[in-house]
Subunit: 155 residues, 4 copies
């Protein structure tokens, strides 16, 4: 469905830090990986082809709640859901589940808002409307899917 | 003062991405760098000495609003302010200013909540009270310093 | 065969830099990913189980020749070959091929030498013999496989 | 002198891995940081100004020998020396010393060869002669400075 995507990633050695767990900055890299895989699943690339108007998606907001740590070699599902579609921006949530737990456990939940921009000749970015060809292919996820949350953990 | 710290970082080539700007995950690395420099400024290291009880600070929440992009070789001030001090956790906000603008401009604002943990013999982490020696040296920033925000930008 | 392994990775947005290509430090992360997948393919983890003597594999040498750049979303094969097996160390070479070229093209070739260490109670590492259970499962690749090299490119 | 530069970096938490030491890929990031600071020390930026012909420096070879590990918060000097200057490429060596040892200890030594390229209109890179304004300001280090090496360690 054009409102969700599930990407799977294994935690790599270089993703960990000296506390023995995945460094928190890498959850944001994983979210973006799921976002780009979602675009590919729609037959699109996040990076426009040379013939298209060059479109980029800088983030204006990112957040993540970390419930349980991730360890080296953990297999993680990153479940992307489209939370909001506006004329110039898209918001997603990302549910992280550790697949090597049985049953899989929610370990983190993040969110990102990205703005559609064109790159000006001077290299600056300017917000622009999401191209129709793309906007038409993306839906907002049903509210009940967006509602559920990870709970528990260290907090 | 024991409620703030200003760290300065230059954006490195490896911090950038193909959009020509600092990758958003790196703001979270920069926040942590300021946090650890803050601890050092108090005569503490974020990593306990061998004689101390081993204490760690995994994040339970992190967020960032990105107002303006950062470019290669930009000089950035990361202004840490202690937002909240609880028995087992600390919350910070981080104001990013680009120093090579005149006057310097607010480019991003982030926040992190970290929980104090001890590492169990089995390698697991368990939330614990912040050691008194540390808690005594840290204050919450005045409300007026916490209130102001970056504005404008792409959104 | 216990002397080689082929891992596949897609170049992610966060792997690129402002030159629009994969940052060179990430080839070293990809090599390590292939190395760990090789260990898993032998039924081993690079990180010992709690019951084993704790063994680590710090690198004592790493190198890479870059022939052609890698771009965002390129699909890359990292072909690991065991180059040398000594009592306390293993050396590998890694051939990078871009799979979305037809035919796939050699884009880089790296090599790593890693030493087997145990972690002392004080946290220091000491070189040790490779555990027999592991050493028995690993062979050196045939010389003709080790000989061929990537050529051409920018140089 | 226009054949050397000393940069100083503190090992950050995000530079470490679960083995408790700096991840080996980060030495390559540190080398590049020293390289760019060297360019700045000559009044140049590694990234051309908009009025210049766009010049880049992709790496064609990189290597590093790791003698002793680096730990969190270690202060490291990265001593860049120009090893070779050719019409289209520059080679450097980088000596890593841990400054918080007394006396400072050699912990690693790396080398990088970077080729001067222009970016073609189609985004591809093509090797080009080093601009004279830049080449004139860079010298090769005296042989005796290039000769000495780090020794010992785990190997």
């Amino acid at each position: 469905m054009p409102y969700e995507f599930k990407a799977i990633r294994r935690v790599e050695f270089s993703d960990t830090d000296m506390a023995g767990i995945m460094h928190y900055s890498n959850y944001f890299r994983f979210m973006e990986t799921a976002e780009h895989a979602f675009f590919r699943s729609l037959g699109l690339s996040i990076v426009s082809s040379p013939s298209d108007a060059p479109v980029g998606w800088p983030r204006v907001r990112a957040e993540c709640d970390f419930t349980l740590p991730l360890y080296f070699e953990d297999e993680v599902e990153i479940h992307l859901l489209v939370r909001e579609k506006r004329s110039k921006s898209l918001s997603y949530i990302f549910k992280f589940r550790r697949l090597n737990d049985s049953p899989p456990r929610n370990v983190a939940q993040g969110a990102v808002t990205a703005v559609c921009v064109t790159h000006q000749p001077d290299g600056k970015m300017r917000a622009c409307s999401i191209p129709k060809s793309l906007s038409d292919r993306i839906q907002v996820a049903p509210p009940e899917m967006l509602a559920s949350r990870a709970g528990g953990g260290l907090r």
